[in-house]
């Protein structure tokens, strides 16, 4: 039984995520797996994702991982990263695809043609680079991380949550958007902690130690 299972559904690059966990938790057993049973058995689950959400949903289903992902998201420490955050929601504008519906809300695209910064310069999409993360609450996952710390982002879509109580942090790119959500045992982020230098490693370390409190 693994301490941490990183779910592999064939999309994108999981090397960075597993390397970063090996670095912050050298004694933990960490597996990268596409086996639903391994996911169910693991103590903690990491749900990453890269690329286009319709492909991610398709590949996840092709491996029979849907139930194991949803179950994990309801009963054990669960960390969603990037598309792994977006897939938890009900629906995405990307390919008009349905998500897992674990959290209420939609995934929307940045309207790039209409976005400018304070100096009047055009804002590019994808939103790529280091942006500030403004924490909305005192979640244990933010322990040791300064408010407004910068994390590395790369995405063209963002989550528009229907439940404001799940918002754990926001960033601003032309307008404020939700970049971290938290509910019970779920913590999910739009940025890439595995690529966010010291602050990102602190967040991953917090996940390894996190003991969620269930309110429901």
């Amino acid at each position: 039984m693994a301490d941490i299972a990183i779910i592999d559904y064939g999309m994108g690059n999981l090397h960075s995520v597993s390397k970063a966990f090996e670095y912050v938790a050298p004694t933990a057993s960490i597996i990268v797996t596409s086996d639903p049973d391994e996911v169910r058995k693991a103590t903690r689950v990491v749900f990453p994702g890269q690329g286009a959400m319709p492909n991610c949903m398709k590949e996840m289903d092709a491996r029979g991982l849907r139930d194991a992902v949803v179950d994990s998201a309801l009963n054990k420490p669960f960390l969603g990263i990037c598309i792994g955050l977006q897939m938890l929601f009900e629906k995405s504008e990307e390919g008009d695809v349905k998500g897992l519906g674990v959290l209420p809300g939609q995934v929307r695209r940045f309207p790039n043609s209409s976005m400018i910064d304070a100096g009047g310069q055009k804002l590019k999409v994808p939103h790529m680079g280091w942006n500030q993360v403004c924490q909305s609450n005192n979640h244990p996952m933010w322990k040791g991380i300064a408010n407004d710390e910068r994390f590395y982002f790369v995405h063209s879509y963002f989550v528009d949550t229907a439940d404001q109580t799940t918002v754990s942090a926001q960033s601003t790119y032309s307008f404020p958007f939700v970049c971290a959500v938290a509910r019970n045992n779920i913590f999910a982020v739009q940025f890439h902690p595995e690529k966010s230098d010291a602050a990102g490693l602190t967040l991953l370390k917090n996940f390894v130690q996190w003991q969620p409190i269930f309110n429901c």
């Binding site: 590019k124 680079g129 601003t172």
Partner: protein, 258 residues
Amino acid sequence: MGLAKRIIPCLDVTNGRVVKGVNFVALQDAGDPVEISRRYNEEGADELTFLDITASSDNRNLILHIIEEVAAQVFIPLTVGGGVRHVDDVRRLLNAGADKVSINTSAVMNPQLVADAADQYGAQCIVVAIDAKQVGGTSAESMKWEVFTHGGRKSTGLDVIEWAKKMQLLGAGEILLTSMDRDGTRKGFNLPLTRAVSDALDIPVIASGGVGDLNHLAEGVLQGHADAVLAASIFHYGEYTVRQAKEYMRKQGIEVRL
């Protein structure tokens, strides 16, 4: 406050060592890639770019080992380019620990490679590198740039702005734009080129080629409208640290991660 402009040190790697040349010739040894990567990370580099300029295919795998080693200890985005010809090359680099793969000559030879790689791995990890040379007149209206390949040796007849737009359409997530006229000269970026390309695109543009001092980096953002600036030699020989570069840029009113 918002998204920071990125500073990206570039490491030209051949046969497992970092080197630096002028206009792609006269290479000098500049050190061990893993050691240099670690130093740049500590100084606050936002990303690192590795260009594998190894001539012989025999030594191609050396870059994979270097990336593996860097990725195990440096947790910022890593881009790798040089000799990427097939989707399989993209896969091998990503598996070794690269976060983005840069495609240059092969994008011109086979534009479908960009589409296929972006489809398979996502646009966020596909960088198209464009080597540009000025071909038009010097007045603002007549300025034109042409895409060159094979390290700047072969002309293609392609207009840089049209080509960049095409790459964006096919799925590139970012453009790495190098002025061949400026590369290695330390005279600063080609600002009209950088601005023309950046303003024409919706995706981010990294300015490259010609940085000789810190003001050049700031100009790239303020006048060239670059989303990120890339430099090699000013950092390799310890003239400036990445931190000094960021402090300078901040003084010029540019938002940076410090």
